[in-house]
Amino acid sequence: MQRHGKEDTLRRILRFLSSMQLGIILLLLFAAISVFASLQEQKRAMDNIYRSFWFVGIMAFAALNLLLCSLRRVKPLARLALRPQKVQTIEAIKKMPFYRAVKLPPADLGDGGIAGAAAALQTLGYQVSVIEGPAGKNIFGEKGRSGYFGSLLTHFGLLVILLGAMVGSLTGFEHAGGGIAGDSFQVPEGNFTVRIDSVCMVQEPDPTVRPRVYSDLVITRDGWQIAAGTVAINEPLRFQGNTIYHKTFRYVSEIVIKNPATGEEIRKQVSEQDLLYVDGAGSYIHFLKFFPNFTMTEQGMPYSKNWLPENPVLAGILYNSAGQGERPVFLQLNKPEVISTAAGEIELTLTSFQHAAVFSVTRNLGRPLLLTGAAVLVLGLYLCFAVSPCRIYAARAKDKDVIHLGGSSYRGRLVLEDDLARIAAIITKQEVGA
């Protein structure tokens, strides 16, 4: 007795876990939490919710629910779909969800009625079997069998997507790197090195539109090349589950700092937001922005007319050693600019500039699963909603001039009603169509 009680409880728990009610509750809960999370002001607060163990837990719970529910339905669904009971008595046909009695024209008495019904079903795309039953010939017609499996495939696709997301987040990484032509950077998580062979900027037909940057990359591991290719916006490089995306580009300027008194020169590379110490006394320039085609508004605001490198200017602010801003600095290409600091006069020259590309390197081993899952999901939805499984039975009592048509459908009520009417019309040789 005791044992039975336990099994019952277990079964009840399983039934609840695989139930549609739980599914609906979880979906609504998921939606409600997402609404709440998306209304957070800060992206951090939002991400914290989506990453929290309980949110992930709800998703896992939904996946379990979906898995159990699908598994439980496989057998009954397969039985329903693959093993129809092909012979039905006239009594059973009369009780079907859709039923019609069609009076045969005199010419079709004999076997003609049954043959006519079979032909009509075939015309409408049904697979027809004629079976010799105990009470004479029976007809069984079926179409849209794949439609039974639509929801199963849909759920299976979803599960594969969830699995892919899990694999992706457990085995994946995200790494940022970049540089100018000739630079290399390591990706320790992936145990490979990215060498940047060239970074090339291509202007759009309209130079006010942000240009595209194409970078030629070579990937090596232990000195061996494992991949190579060009990366640009919307054109990532993929290899071995890793992907390198172009994220953005920067200007890297070369600056010569010259001490006019001694004639001593230092070369430095800087990019936007860099600090450059210009003398031994702690004065520095905070570089703010590189303008490829520099100009000023009437109010004296600097901006770039477009992306063409026609008047390149690197702009920044000079700070003294106490961190107080002293004056703006605009360095034009090859035009020495003399500034005075606590340590005396210094001559700064922007001698050249290059493009640096910034990449995001990620690994997502779940990608094939995600894409397969998505394809299966779409196929499943198509089978669910565009294919209506229908079954039609026809039988005729001996010596009667009436043929009984009955049918059942799985989600295809309208299709079946329509088909029955058309079959009846064909049998009685009425005009069909209009």
């Binding site: 609906i24 979906l27 609504l28 997402s34 998306s38 539109v209 919307n234 992907t243 990620t362 998505a374």
Partner: protein, 291 residues
């Protein structure tokens, strides 16, 4: 301004003219369907003819816009809104034809929603300064120059159109339920069973395209941003909309729900859809806030 396209004066004139005509036409068609609804039964076919005519005008507007911006007009609130309205009318006219013109009453509700969307595109920005719906002719920034854009946006306007149709029918259901059978107006609306079937089919249509929209969006995000899913508000709200309609489909199909509970789910789903389009853009920020 950056990325602007110079449009010939003729092109601009034609575009504005066609837009104005299409808007005026939609107003007229809505009036026609409403008069039909309020008892002048003979007006149904005329309202429908008028809507067909407007649909051609609106199509001509979209073609002109395409020529003027030299790309598919899929970017920004104004263009997306127009595509979406066009898709709503397209889907409705298609069902009208398939139903052999039996349910002109649905047209009165769909066109009213279309007018609501037009008001959002044209009047709302004039009232709320926070809402700026630019009609400027802009070039596509490189990140949007992708074939995924075309599939993604086409799927989303069709998805939204399906949901709009479902919501229109849900409104009819609610109105009919509220007025009861005593009123002649309620009796003029199709039977509850017909409305529920109509609502179901429109939801399924929307759901299919919403699915394609989410999937193509994720694939596109993966190729351009390096991630399938970023939990950004636009993504989350499309998912929420999708879930609400998923709950509706399950409740109807597997739990045998019908009547008010299913209608309420469709209404909730439409609001989620509207928030994805309008609310996210003005109230929440994110990568998608360009429209």
């Amino acid at each position: 301004m950056a990325g602007m396209i110079e449009v010939s004066p003729t092109g601009l004139f034609l575009e504005n003219l066609l837009f104005t005509l299409a808007v005026a036409g939609y107003l007229a068609a809505t009036a026609g369907y409403l008069i039909f609804l309020f008892g002048k039964k003979s007006l149904g076919p005329s309202a429908s003819r008028l809507l067909h005519l407007d649909f051609s005008l609106h199509s001509a507007f979209l073609v002109t816009r395409t020529v003027n911006v030299r790309r598919v007009p899929f970017v920004g609130h104004f263009e997306f809104g127009n595509m979406f309205i066009w898709a709503c009318v397209f889907v409705y006219l298609w069902t009208e034809r398939r139903q052999k013109d039996k349910y002109y009453a649905v047209g009165a509700f769909v066109t009213s929603l279309v007018v609501l969307y037009i008001v959002y595109l044209t009047l709302v920005p004039k009232i709320f300064t926070r809402v700026t719906i630019s009609r400027a002719h802009t070039l596509l920034p490189p990140v949007l120059q992708s074939n995924w854009l075309k599939v993604h946006v086409s799927a989303s306007v069709l998805g939204y159109a399906g949901f709009t149709l479902a919501f229109a029918v849900a409104l009819m259901w609610l109105l009919k339920a509220r007025l009861r059978e005593k009123s002649a107006f309620a009796r003029a609306l199709p039977a509850f069973a017909v409305l529920e079937e109509y609502m179901y089919r429109a939801s399924v249509f929307g759901f299919l395209f919403q699915t394609v929209m989410i999937i193509t969006g994720a694939i596109w995000a993966d190729t351009s941003w390096g991630r399938f899913w970023g939990w950004d508000p636009k993504e989350m709200w499309s998912l929420i909309t999708w879930f609400v309609f998923a709950v509706y489909l399950h409740a109807r199909f597997t739990r045998g729900w019908s009547g008010f509970r299913t209608v309420a789910l469709v209404v909730a789903g439409w609001f989620a859809m509207l928030f994805t389009w309008v609310g996210v853009a003005w109230l929440l920020s994110g990568i998608h806030s360009f429209g």
